[in-house]
Symmetry: C2
Subunit: 152 residues, 2 copies
């Protein structure tokens, strides 16, 4: 279901961070922790299209997700993870994911997820249900969104 | 910025809840608490369009939100509230809101927000930036999204 491409995204964001910080408009969720454990979770939001003919199957899968997939999500320090569905235009559906990352090496944790056998099997089921949004970076599946407001 | 119409939405959802529960596909975030304080926050996700020519002003407003507005959000038991921006199609922008509700009377808390003078002034700034999605219910501003997956 998730994020083979997030490490690429993160790398680019890390390179851009000094620039966007200077300009005062950096995505707030990209705060980088240098400690072993983030003192505060880093928030992520992402979006992807869902094929209308796959809605039923996608919902069925996610109503009873495979235990091994959930265990890998936890091992990769992803928490409070929810996915929402919306019909944004008539017949046009999108999934919106929100999660919090509590680890200290996002790239490493996402790599571990992408190499987990059960997760790979799960993605073989979910990938054909989804399609990247029109503005997605070449090769991306989910597109990360910029946080413009936060209130604890 | 928020939710004059959420009470309407909530009422409809409360009416529909028995039906969708029977069908096993009710939005999970609509769990109703009968206690004084929810033992677990109820999660909400919502979406609205953002006019391209208003992006800069919207971001500027939300980079320094008015203290009175934030205080009312807290008084209305809304926490961990973030808004994200994405260009879903070339030149077509959307805002995605995620928040957690910790109170025991969502309708009452949203009404209090809608009646707060500072919040009313804030919405006079933010409303002209936004437009409801094509599939929004008549009169709705933000459209609530159905949660299809959750992992703590």
């Amino acid at each position: 279901m998730l994020y083979e491409r997030i490490p690429d995204f993160l790398l680019i964001m890390l390179c851009l961070l000094p620039i966007v910080c200077i300009n005062g408009c950096g995505p707030k969720e990209q705060a980088v922790s240098s400690g072993k454990e983030s003192s505060q979770p880093q928030r992520y939001g992402m979006v992807i299209g869902l094929k209308p003919e796959k809605i039923e199957y996608y919902k069925k899968l996610h109503a009873a997700p495979w235990p091994g997939v959930l265990q890998q999500i936890t091992r990769s320090h992803i928490h409070n993870f929810s996915i929402r569905l919306v019909e944004l235009k008539p017949g046009e559906y999108y999934l919106f994911g929100y999660f919090e990352y509590t680890g200290d090496d996002f790239e490493k944790d996402m790599k571990a997820m992408a190499e987990d056998a059960e997760t790979i099997r799960w993605w073989k089921e979910t990938d054909p249900c989804q399609y990247p949004i029109e503005t997605a970076k070449q090769g991306d599946k989910w597109t990360m969104m910029e946080e413009v407001f936060y209130h604890p």
